[in-house]
Structures are given as structure tokens and as C-alpha cells.
Subunit: 430 residues, 2 copies
Amino acid sequence: MKTLDWNQLSDAEQALALRRPALAQGGRDAQVADIINKVRAGGDATLLQLTRDLDKAERRSLRLSEQEIDAAAGRVSEELKAAIELAIGNISAFHRAQVPAPISLDTQPGVRCELHFQPIEKVGLYVPGGSAPLVSTVMMLAIPARLAGCERVVLCSPPPVNDAIVYTAKRCGVDAIYTLGGAQAVAAMAYGSETVTKVDKIFGPGNTWVTEAKRQVAADVEGAAIDMPAGPSEVLVIADESADAAFIASDLLSQAEHGPDSQVVLVTPSQDLAARVYQALAEQLAQLSRRDIAAQAIDNSLTLLCRDLEQAAAISNAYAPEHLIVQTEDPRALLPKLKNAGSIFLGAWTPESVGDYASGTNHTLPTYGYARTYSSLGLADYQRRYTVQELSPAGLQAIGPAVELLAATETLDAHKNAVSLRLAKLEKQQ
Amino acid sequence: MKTLDWNQLSDAEQALALRRPALAQGGRDAQVADIINKVRAGGDATLLQLTRDLDKAERRSLRLSEQEIDAAAGRVSEELKAAIELAIGNISAFHRAQVPAPISLDTQPGVRCELHFQPIEKVGLYVPGGSAPLVSTVMMLAIPARLAGCERVVLCSPPPVNDAIVYTAKRCGVDAIYTLGGAQAVAAMAYGSETVTKVDKIFGPGNTWVTEAKRQVAADVEGAAIDMPAGPSEVLVIADESADAAFIASDLLSQAEHGPDSQVVLVTPSQDLAARVYQALAEQLAQLSRRDIAAQAIDNSLTLLCRDLEQAAAISNAYAPEHLIVQTEDPRALLPKLKNAGSIFLGAWTPESVGDYASGTNHTLPTYGYARTYSSLGLADYQRRYTVQELSPAGLQAIGPAVELLAATETLDAHKNAVSLRLAKLEKQQ
């Protein structure tokens, strides 16, 4: 872990310290475009072929049958089901609280303006495969979709799809599970095939193939919208002298074990605390199954020594972390100063893990600095807002002359005429 | 205007009828990238040079001085100021009603989850130039920015900036007005210069140069987010036998006068109404100052004869229009069936023009089919949502074991360990 004293750095050095490493694009653009084109042209046959070639899986159907789903569910332990149930309860409660109320307002007498919400009709969820079955990702993506009222919710995950993922998807009301991974999964959901539903918006994390495919389909109006831009996971911890160094080390390692490109930053006014955290890191690292990955991320990570907690907040705001953990004597006192974070974890008893799984907040968060402008995933991402207006004759008479003048100022005759015609008719009637 | 009988069309023909024409990209990618690179490298000097070369304007400063602003304001008529005042009142009222309330909820005892909102810190507004001063665009972009609490709101418009635009920007609380247009304006706001503030998000319409520049800066994390993808303006009118044909013709022409690429669609079960609308169109078209533009758009436009209003709603939902006008005997009865529209105008006394200027709704709307997933512009686009959580010791003890099991299932040891360490400490304390 590299340690820098913030107040010894020049402006340029400060900016450099908070700069994230360039994302490896891997030059996948053309390869991904090729996969997307093949899927659009060849449909199911191409998808089955790609699954055979890339995922080494031989399947007759891209969609899991009810029998397969039931069999998988039967293999999930009751203990895990109970943990999933607890998480679903909390995630549902927090996202249900986000269901918006429509607005209806007379901006002036006879001029009714309304804001309505509608669910996005069809959504597609992507859940990565690999050794770790991302049960939490299924819950975080599917629960708000159902609460938002989306008509159809489908999920892609590369074969073999883990039993716990299948169970959780079924439990969260996913309509169809497709055994598809990578760019071909994104292409299938964006454009549809004989078996796969074409969706309006695609959600979920993924590797560089998935990320590039999401980028490409989002740029095409015939494709699908996407949840948010992707980047490596990251955490920033603000801590003072009072913090438990072992807790902080465990939080830094939670982030570090995601991958060698994870970003881990500790900001503290206490050099003593920093020293204690390094000690704890060394002790805990030795115990981890993913210690090689975590050690690499910790090597690349950063401790910033700052003047006080106010400066710590300013540093965090400039960095705009995905996860922000505050372990100080009075964490809530710092909250009004904190901006540009994906999700904030207050106090010693709130490790990032609780938000990743079961407190109720969503773990899908803007990363790589996007937290300056992008929101953490919520019910709003599964709905869209639109406006409605209705004027009475008196309402039109009240605002019509102003509209006529503004339209004339913008040299839009027909806009003016649409009002003038109506005002003339009303005048004749009176 | 082409007339098609919807129920005589095959599925493929129906899809084709609702397909929008391909957007002319103009192959501007490389030219725009070049302008952006020049602006990033050269700052103010480059911006002044580009303004000299492209806008033929010789300026010493990119920013309007207070004297210039006051002088411009002095040249705006009192009558226009009063119309602007009326519009500002209604737009402010409707957008103020959208200010969200934070959420705070115990998903279970000791597990506090919160949803907070923060304004996007710095925003940039783009207002196109040309012969028509788009006063309404200034109001629609600046009023929600101020109500959302954005710290800095800047505006670019190509020189010479019209007096009414300057006055309205000042009146709506814009902090700085830059005499910059095109791709160079977008580049300046996305990356900043000696004079121009670097912003976090850019809003507003523009020509293909502006659109391409917005696309490019949005794809760069160092650049800026943008409001929504752009496309030509469009209207769909649903009308029945009871509608006033002259009103409908005036609404179709309001759209048509925006440009030859405007999309204009009439959907009606009444062949008689369609005939009356054609007659009214011919009469009104002859009177318009922009009749050449409007005539081209009307030539490309479409009447779809349908079975009934329910089918009309389904056609509109499939098309996903930017503006949807409903002129039927009972327009509100159709509202629950309508989806995928940017803004809906109900009844004979609600021409599109009222929403364009002064009813209170925002006229910045998703077009080109994006209304399936994108929202009409609102206060929410100037803010971001983030979550906060805080657990008590009892709260952690209640959900900790479930988090440990879920983390273990995902083979994330360190995530589990962050909880286990804390539970062990609590156990020792008790």
C-alpha cells in the first residue's frame, strides 16, 4: 500500500493520486461487433453454436425448462434458501419504498400538468458465470424489476448455470432463464431470437466482452438501453483514530478480493491508525483463499494522510468512490459533507458486505468516477417518467397570448397558429 | 401525406410503416474528434480562433460581460418579458413539484437504509443559434437546474447571442454565458478552458455537430454526461370523428415546420376526419412563412387508418412518439392505454405549442423511439440518487449470519470475514 501525505502534494500530484488506471479495452470492438452481427443474422442456431464453441456446453435449448429449474431448486440447501429469503425481504422493502407517486398539478387555473411513471416493458438481466455463483446479483437486478412492474424479466447466465442462481431467479420472479454468456447473451437480449425475448433495457455486470457488447447495443436505437457504464469495483474508507483497524483491513480486503484491478483507498488524518491497518492487513491477508488476487490489489492501493475529516470528505468527493465507508467517532456528522459516492456505509457495524448482500440497498453502483453524475441502481432505473397536460378553454385563453408571442419570437408561425386558431374559435363561441 | 389502412398491412409492412428514417450521420466522427482534441490542447485561444473561423465572429472574450448582458436585457420588449415571466412561473411550479423527498427506512430493526439526492454540481446548457432565438430552450434547461440545486449553471450559444436568450438566461439564474457554438462549445464545457467552466453534464439540442460532440464526450469518463440521445422532432396525433380538423392540421404543421426531417403521424379510425385534415392542411400551409420546410415534412408524413381508438393507442405505443396529441371525445379515457410517449397532450384545447412554451411541462423529450426507455427531461436529470446504510450492533447480529452464508456461497472469503470479525467482537463484549 502506497502512502501519500495529501498536503505535501501539488495540485497536479493530488489529481494524479486520485486518477484511476486506464481501462484495458482489449481491442474487442471488432470481435464483439462480429458476434452481434452473427447473432442478429443466425438467431438460435448461432447462439447454440457460440455456446458450444465458447462455453463448451452442448445444449438442445437455450432456455432452462421448468423441470431443470425445479431440479436445480431442489439441490439448494434450506440454510441458503433462508439466507436468500432474509435478503429478499430487506431488498424488497427498500426498493418498494422507492415506488414513486404520480404528480398532478394546476400550474395555473385550467392548466393541468402531470408527471406519470411507467415500467420499462421488457428487461434483460445478465449474471456472470465462473466459479462463484452471484446469487446477490440476481436479487439486486430482479427484485426492482418486479416491483417496478416490468412485464417481462429475463435472465442470461453462461452454462452451466449454478443451482443457487436458478433458484434465486425463480424465487425473484424471473420469467425465463437462458443459458447464454458473454457478448452473445447481450446480443440475444438486445435483438431477440426465436427463443430469446428482445428486451428494452439490459442490466448487470460482466467481463470486457459483456461491457463492450452493452456499449455497442446501447449506441443502436434498434438495440437496447443499458443500466450504467462499467468499471472495476472500488472502495474508499474514511477513518479516524477511533476506528478499529481490523475492521478497516477486512473492508479493504473485501474490495481487494474482487480482482487485481480493484481500487482500494484509505483516507485518514491518523498516521497511527494507518500503521495499525497495515499490520491488520498483513495478518488477514494470509488467511484468505483469494490472497494472491487481494495482495495484488492491496499493492496497488493507496493511503492518503489528510489534515482532518473535513479534508477527508473533500478528497472522497473528488475521487467519487463506488463504495464509501466511514468509520469515525461520529460518522453521521460527516454525511452532509459527503457527495459523489455510489453507496455510503456509516459506522463500525456497517461493513460493505451488508450492502452487497442483505441490508436492502442495491449493490449495483456507479464506479470509475461515474458517481459524479450517475445514480446507484434503484427502482427508477426500471421505469420511465413522462408528462401529460390538459388545458381547459379558460386555461388556453390565460396562457395562449404568451405562447403566441414566444412562438413568434422563435419565428415558429405554425406553433403560434395552433393557438391562434383555437383562441379565435373560443372567441366566436362566446 | 401518405395514407395507409393499418389492418390491410402485413406485420412486416406495419413495422416498416412505423420505422423512422435512418439518421444522416454525415460522417462527422473524425472532424468532431479533431475539434475536441484541438480545444483540449489549445483552450481559450483555440476557442476564439474556431469562433472566428466557423462563426465569423471576432470576440475578445468568450464570456459575455455583465455590461453586455445588461445591455441585451434592456433591448428586450416589456411584452416579451411578461410572456417569459408567465412561462417561468408555470415551468417553475411543475418542476418544483418534482423535488424529491429522501427516504429513510429500517428494513429490519437496526438496519437503516436511506435514499438521498444530490444536485449534479456543474451543468452546461447548449442553446442553438440561427435565426430563431430559442428562448424556450433556455427556460426548459435552466429552470430545473436551479431548482435541483446545481452549484454552477453555464450556457453556450453561438455568436451573436440573441438579446432575448441573454435576458432569459440571466433571469433563470444562469451563472455564465459563453459565445460558443457547435462541437467546440460541447468540447469546452466537457473539458473546460481558462474561461469556460468544466461541467459534469451537458444538456440541450443541437445540429449534427453538437450531437456527435455530445456522443463523444459522454463516452469519455473524463468528459461529461449528457441528457439523452438526440433525433428529429416528431408528433403523433390520435383523433376521432369528433375532432376539429383545423386544430389537428395546425398541430401537424407545428411539428412539420421544425424541419424537413420532422416526423408527423396521424392515427384515426375516421376516413372522413382524415379527408378534412388534408383539406385544412392545404389551406393552412399556404399561409406559413416556413411553408417550404413544412410542406416537405408533410409530404413525408403518414396517416394510418385504424379500427378503433384502442388500436390507435397500440399503434402509438409501438411507434413511441416524442409528442402525442389526443383529440377524441373523451381523451382522458384513453390515457391508461397510452405508453412510450415523451409528453401527452389531451383534448382540443391543448396544442403541442402550450407544452413547448408555457404549460409547465418540459419540452425536452426523448425522440426517435427512445421514449420506450428514456424519460422526458425533469428535475431528476439534474440530480443523482445514492444510498446510505447504518447498522446497529443488533442489526448486524440479525443479518450477519445470512451475509456470511451468501458471501461464502459466492466464494468471497474477505466479504464474509468483514462480518465475522465484527460478530466475534460483539460476542466478546456481551
